[in-house]
């Protein structure tokens, strides 16, 4: 199954309101320091970058390391400036790339 994302953005906000954005994505975040039952090292497989753009302008970015738990959860804030789209992107090892969007109406 493809990576599953769960985004929580308030669907409506007042102009200038500070809103919280919560994001979850399914990913093993294999840290690269473990071994399998046969003693073979398990290769690192993590998400390395997360970004959020608000109507095309980048408003938030995170660089993730192996110490982030599986199924990364990240929350942050932004000011609701105008109606439109928040676009989220996660990229990582082995060409991993996943996108998600959320709409917001600003009154």
């Amino acid at each position: 199954m493809a990576a599953r994302t769960l985004i929580n953005v308030p669907p409506k906000a007042k102009r200038g309101e500070v809103i919280q954005i919560k994001t979850l994505i399914s990913h093993v975040m294999e840290n690269g320091f473990r071994h399998d039952n046969m003693g073979k090292p398990i290769a690192r497989d993590i998400i390395t970058t997360f970004t959020c753009a608000y109507n095309g302008e980048k408003i938030f970015e995170a660089a993730l390391y192996p110490a982030i738990s599986a199924n990364p959860f990240i929350t942050f804030y932004t000011v609701a400036t105008e109606s439109g789209t928040l676009a989220f992107q996660w990229t990582g090892d082995n060409g991993f790339s996943q996108e998600a969007t959320a709409k917001i109406t600003v009154e």
Binding site: A62, P66, S69, F73, F76
Partner: protein, 154 residues
Amino acid sequence: MTDPASRMNTTRRAFLAVAGAALLVRPAKATPASMAAAIRQAVGEAHVKPGRIKLNVPPLVENGNVVAVSVSVESPMTEKDYVKTIHIFTEKNPQPNVISFQLNARAGKAEVQTRIRLADTQTVVAICEMSDGSCWSDKVDVVLTLSACLEDPI
């Protein structure tokens, strides 16, 4: 120039260095020194002062695989005065970097949450860099309690 003999020597020397290090500390583990180096890499030579940033980690953790963490910074978050970056580091994880956030004035509020892995009882450090270049830090000593009834890796 790498003839097989010198390559073997290099490998052997490297192996001995690693083996020697392993006697002192467990392999693949960050140290306070490597954390300090990671901090320097993140914020340069700026003087890091305590204050303005608050790291919230439970002092006693039930399971080190998933530890809820939040970081908040006192800042007006205006174009003139905002938080540029927030970093989290650990002393004894396999590597010191945990996560680095880049914010801008549009955030409105400098507060982030995530979930991190802690390999051992250790100190967790959060550092922020403001738009004026000043850097602030907070740290929490976290005790990892021992879990019963774990499973073998599958």
